[in-house]
Each structure stands twice: as C-alpha cells, then as structure tokens.
Amino acid sequence: MPFFQWEDIVTAFTLFIAVYMVIVILFYTVILLISMLQLRKEYKLDRVQVYEDYMEGIYTKPVSIIVPAYNEEAGIVHSVRSLLSVNYPAFEIIVVNDGSTDHTLDKMIDHYDMKEIKKVVRKQINTKPIGKIYQSAIFSNLFLINKENGGKADALNVGLNFSHYPYFCSLDGDSVLEQDAFLKVMKPIIDSNEEVIASGGSVRIANGCQIQNGRIQKIGLSDKPLVVMQIIEYLRAFLMGRIGLSRHNLLLIISGAFGVFSKSWVVAAGGYRTDTVGEDMELVVRMHRLLKEKGQKKKIVYVPDPVCWTEVPEDTTFLRRQRRRWHRGLFESLWIHRKLTFNPKYGSIGLLAFPYFWIVEFFGPIIELFGYIFMLLCLFLGGIYIEFAILLFLLSLLYGSIFSMAAVLLEEWSLTKYPKVSDIIKLFLYSLTETIWYRPMTVIWRCEGILQMLKGDTSWGEMKRKGVSE
C-alpha cells in the first residue's frame, strides 16, 4: 500500500529532522552560553585603555602585512594609504601584484615612487616565478612584488617568502582596517608569550557606514534587506560562534579578510594551498593538525573586537557566487583533512570541531533543503496535519530569531557599535523574516555549491590525485 509507505517515510523523516534539530540547537546553545559568559565578564571593559600599553615599541612584535592584488587599480592606492596610517610601532607592507591585467602595477609605482630593488628572496614555499621587486622611495617599509598570475594563495605565499618579520597578516584588498587592528590582534600573541600562533578578529560589514580616506567615520545600518540579513549573519557567526569556539581552541576559521599568523608555523605547515578555494580555512585546519601531530600546546584564537570592515555583496548574483564558493571551500578543507573526523588522536579538534563543521555547517543546508521539500510534499500529499505544519514553521521562524537576537544582545554587551534604538528594532524585525526568504535562498545556493563540486569540477579532481601534501 503506497499510502502506508508514505506515512512511514513521514514518520521516519520527521524523527530524523527532530533529532537533527535537537543536536544543532544543543550545539548552538552551548556555544552561545560560552560566548555570553565570556562577553559578560568583559562587560563595559574600557578597551582603549587595554591597548595603550601595547603601543610602546618594546613590547610589540613587528608584522609584515601582505596585500595580494589582482586587478585592483581602483582601490589599491587607497588601501595602501590606509594601511600606512595604522597604529602600530613596526610593520612593513608587501603588495603582491598577482599578474594583474590592468594598471595596478603602474598606479602603485607612480603614486608611491616605487624603485626597483635587487633582492634574493628565500624560497621557503614553492610559488609561481616572481618578477621585479620594488621599494617605495617615500616609505621604506612599502614593497611591491610583481609576479605571474597564480591566485590569491600563491600571491600570499610569495609575500610570505619575501617578508622580513616573524608575524604576517593576510589582508583582502578591499577591506577597511580599524586604526588599532594590529594592536588588537597582536595582544593575545604578545600576552601569551607566543603560545598563540594565529589570531583573528571580527569582520564587520561596511555597507551603510560612512567611509573617508580609508577610515570609518560613522557606523550605520544599511537600508538594503540583503545587507541587513548579512549583518545579522555576521554578528551571529562572529560574536556567537567564534568566541565560543575560540575559548576552547576549536577555531577552524580565521577570516581571510584579516588574520595574523606566526610565520614560522605557517612555513612549517607549508604555506597556503593553491588548489582550494578556501585557502584561509584550510591553512588553519592544517596548522591545528600540525600542532596535534607535533604534540604542541599552541593556540589559535579569536578577538571579539572588530578589526576590519568589509564590503559585502548587495545583489543576489554576487552573494550567490560567494556562498557557493564558501561552501565549496568548507568542504574542501574538511575533505582534505577528513582523517581528523572523529579521530581521538586529534583531541577536541577531531572529536568536536570537525563533527560540528561536518554536521552543522556542511550537511546543514542539505538537510534543510530536504526539510523544505518535504514540507511542500506533505502539504500536497497529506500525511501531516496543517496545524502541525504551521506550528513547526512558526517554531523554526522563532528559534532562528532567538539566536539572532542573542547575537545582537552580545553585540550590545560588548561593543555597542550601532548607535540608534531604531537599529535594534530593525535588526529584530529583519531577523524574524530570515526563515521566510533569506535562509532558504542561502540554503539553495550552498547546495548548488555542493552540486557544482559533484559535477566533477577539474580542480577537485586534481586535488584528489595529489593527496595531502605534508
């Protein structure tokens, strides 16, 4: 009897979804609680005071800032200028021109009076061949390297080979840094006496803020629904997720937009991988792995202070592309290191972080997608009470909002960046609508990312053959 079978499926699937939801909610709740405790402890701490001491040169460690640039003639001069004015005692800026086809190189040379220098670059990591190297005649700590096109990871590796200092920072060309960004992220490294080998900060959304000369002048909330939803997403991801994970050294992601790493450890791990779209996450995972394999007690941490403001896509085409790429990057990082999953040898990374990223982050969208399809099918084929469906729907709507609002609460407790009461109400109302439009949309995109991969993408095949190069 087909009808009977359908009912069986309904029961089984409902049970599965219920169990899955409980697991996910538990995960989130635990992480939320950890973050809350942490931020509540630092409630109203005067952060400016905390960083003052670190400006004294004797305590700080010099940092090499690597800026990979591919066809960024519009923004590169500007980004570099804002970098030159950061508040940090010792740093150098290395712009790596990744075979741009526009005038990125000429603009840099003209504007900063770059002169060619002869230097032997120690090849600690293999990269595509490099061309000329320049140094600015105005700022002796500004360098420019020209190289063949090889992607962002390759450009970062070139910068790594060239850099002079023990710490380096990877940076997206289009982000705006806070003046104290380096003080903030270097603090844990200095404080811990180098036990911390990588540190990242919150990335915030610049859309809707007033920016002048590479500085945030006024923080505002964008009027575009798509941007507001992304703000909520970022708040949730950074304030809730990463604080919680970082507290127990489970952090697997340091945003590619801004992070400081210990050079020696990155070199030991082999630098950035050029064959994945998620090179930033992959590197962090590899470093964790290396630490566990070497039995070292080093840490990778996250600083809740915002350090960097970045522009997010304002229309669906680009957002879609971004989400597909992210999901693919996530999968690649997890797949390359799949050996770690549930592997007790890798401690909490293998037993907690990996399962979390697999179950919640990677399979989440697939299961959600099936959930949506299932709901629709049930409405047509029966097997579920309409009241039941409505209630379930309401519940999912509300429970998502709870976490969003909790993230807003955390933001208010810690940083209080949005100035108006109406901002909070706006965030609240938007977060209520997430389940209706934004969530399904991103779920579909992420599933598309998986599909793309399954369709036998070439880079995917190559990677498989190469295996893990360690």
Binding site: S140, L409, V421
Partner: protein, 345 residues
C-alpha cells in the same frame, strides 16, 4: 495523540515568543537609557572641561568642580583620563593626581570591591593613569583575594610597582614566581633604581623568567651603572641568560675592555655571533671590521643582517658595504650589503 504534541509545540512556540519579546524590550530600553546617559555625560563634560583645564594648567580650583552624581563622576573620569594621556608637565600631573584623589578615591575604593571583573579592571586602569597613591592599600589588599584572574593580578602588581611599593620584592620572589618573563618585564620596568636593585642582587637565586626580565629592563633603560653586573653575568652564565646580557651590553653600548668579546665573533652559536656583531657595531670597534665583513658572508641570515647593520654604524660603513656589494662573489653577502645600503631611502 497529535493533540498532545500540538499542545507541546504551542507551548514551545509561545515561550520562545515570550523570550523574544523580553529580549527586544530589554535591548531597546537598555539602548535608550544608554543614549540618554551618554548625552548627559557629554553635557557635563562640556561644562567641566574648561574648569578642569584651568585647574590643571593654572592650579586655580573652582567650587563648581564637585561631582555629586555618578554621571558627573563618570564625566570627570573621562576628562581626566583624556588629560592623563597628553599632559607632560610634572606640575600638571601632580595637580591631576591631587584632584583625582580628592574626588574619586572613595568612588574607586567602592569599585575595587565590585563583583564585576571588568569594573575592577577599569578602575585599576584609572588608578594607574591618575597615579592615585592614596589607594595603595586598597590595591594591595586585592592581591589577597582568592580567584584573582591573571590579567588582574599582573595589573595590580604593575600598579604596586608604579607606586614603588616596599614589599613588592617579597611579593614577586615569594608568592608570584610563576609569572612569565613578559609579565615581569611589564612590572619591573616601572621600578625606580633603589627598588630595582633588590632584583639585581637577587639575580642568581631568581627563576629564569625573572632573570631574563631583569636583563631586558636593564637593556631597555640602558643603565650604565649595571655594567659590572652585566659583564659578570656574561662570563658566569651560558645559554639564553648569556645572550640576553650580551644584548643588554650592546644596548648600553659601552665596555671598558672589548677584547674578551672579540672571541664571541667566532662563536659556534649563531646567536652569539649575531649579538657580538651588534655589540661591535654599537661600540664601533675598528679592529673588528674585517671580521664583520666576514660575518656578512655568514650562513645564517640573522648574522648577515646584524653584520650589515653594524657596518652601517661606522662612519665609513656605507663605503665598506658598497665595496662588498661590488666585489663579493657571494650572492647572499651582496644582497645583504645592498639591503643595508638602501635602508631608509
């Protein structure tokens, strides 16, 4: 059966809804109050700013300057804090301290006892900034609290150092031997000579982090009176302590007799070669120049780098580097010579 489940779901939905509403109400009210408070504080600051400025620069005290409400105190605190960062003059700083001690001592005394970690931390920062020695005992008493966070402890010890607290030496050597070099350095750097000498005398009995911190502080302060001490350490210790004391010596930039150090230029440890090269550079020892040029060809990057820098410090250093650049066949030496010729173009 479904009725039961429906009921549970409804209850869940309603309770989540309630939580959400409570959250929203809390957040908006909080925000509104915060904005109001901020406005008031800013208003107070506007009123007090000229008065406080006058007080600090001329010493003329105005009756209007008596904080009554908490917001007024907050406004005072913020104003003083901004002045504390920019005031250079001794007189002005003294007035600031006096003023803070008169008006904020009681307030801070209470706040130091607060249950909130961040409140105590902020208060400590202000006591530090305003140099409020009147609170010395209160700060010291905090060390006896159980469950003190590491950050708080270090901060307390730093304040005690700033106040030249008499028993700090006992405290650091008997109770807090497990601090890191970094923490010790942070604390010791604030001590005056008399206090610091206790640590120098204690050096041989101290743990490694404390030893390193003492040497580091001497090298930061470039205190010549510790020369005999440093030279003594160099020849009676090995390893990291020796290196640190060599570094301190290089920073001070003076020795009576250079000869014992020339051998270090031939040490098998690259760290020693590097620091010896640094020392030669800061002392500008002509007779060691040939060896410095050799070190420009050293196999370790750091040694080459330091040799380049040291050569640069000589009057004719650039010429020597140019010669190496033009004549040497070693790419690495050439590269390093080039780099130092173009430093700070």
């Amino acid at each position: 059966m479904p009725n039961n489940e429906l009921f549970i779901l409804s209850v869940l939905t309603i309770s989540i809804l309630c939580i959400l509403v409570i959250l929203l109400v809390y957040l908006t009210i909080r925000k509104a109050i915060d904005i109001k408070r901020r406005e008031k504080i800013e208003k107070y600051k506007e009123i007090y700013n000229p008065l406080i400025f006058q007080l600090l620069t001329e010493g003329s005290y105005s009756r209007a300057l008596t904080p009554e409400s908490r917001l007024q105190q907050k406004a005072f605190e913020e104003l003083l804090s901004s002045y504390a960062n920019v005031l250079e003059g001794k007189e002005e700083r003294k007035r600031l301290t006096e003023f803070a001690e008169i008006h904020l001592t009681e307030y801070y005394r209470k706040r130091l006892k607060s249950k909130k970690w961040s409140t105590r931390m902020n208060t400590l920062y202000h006591i530090d900034d305003f140099n409020m020695t009147s609170l010395l005992d209160d700060v010291y008493r905090l060390t006896k609290k159980n469950r003190l966070s590491h950050e708080e402890l270090v901060h307390i010890l730093r304040i005690l150092a700033l106040f030249q607290f008499q028993s700090l030496f006992q405290l650091l050597t008997n109770h807090y031997q497990y601090l890191s070099e970094y923490d010790y350095r942070h604390i010791l750097i604030r001590l005056e000579k008399q206090q610091f000498d206790q640590f120098v005398l204690h050096f041989h009995k101290a743990e490694l982090p404390l030893q390193k911190a003492v040497l580091e502080v001497i090298s930061i302060k470039r205190e010549r009176s510790y020369l005999p001490f440093i030279e003594n350490i160099i020849f009676s210790y090995t390893g990291e302590v020796k290196l640190r004391s060599l570094k301190a010596l290089a920073e001070i930039g003076y020795v009576k007799n250079i000869n014992p150090y020339l051998n270090l230029l031939y040490s098998t440890k690259w760290e020693e070669r590097m620091i010896a090269a640094k020392l030669i550079g800061s002392l500008k020892v002509e007779k060691a120049m040939p060896r410095l040029i050799e070190l420009l060809h050293d196999q370790t990057w750091w040694v080459r780098y330091q040799a380049g820098q040291s050569i640069c410090q000589f009057a004719n250093g650039k010429d020597i580097l140019r010669k190496v650049f033009e004549t040497s066949k070693d790419v690495f030496a050439k590269d390093m010579a080039w780099e130092w010729l173009h430093k700070g173009v």
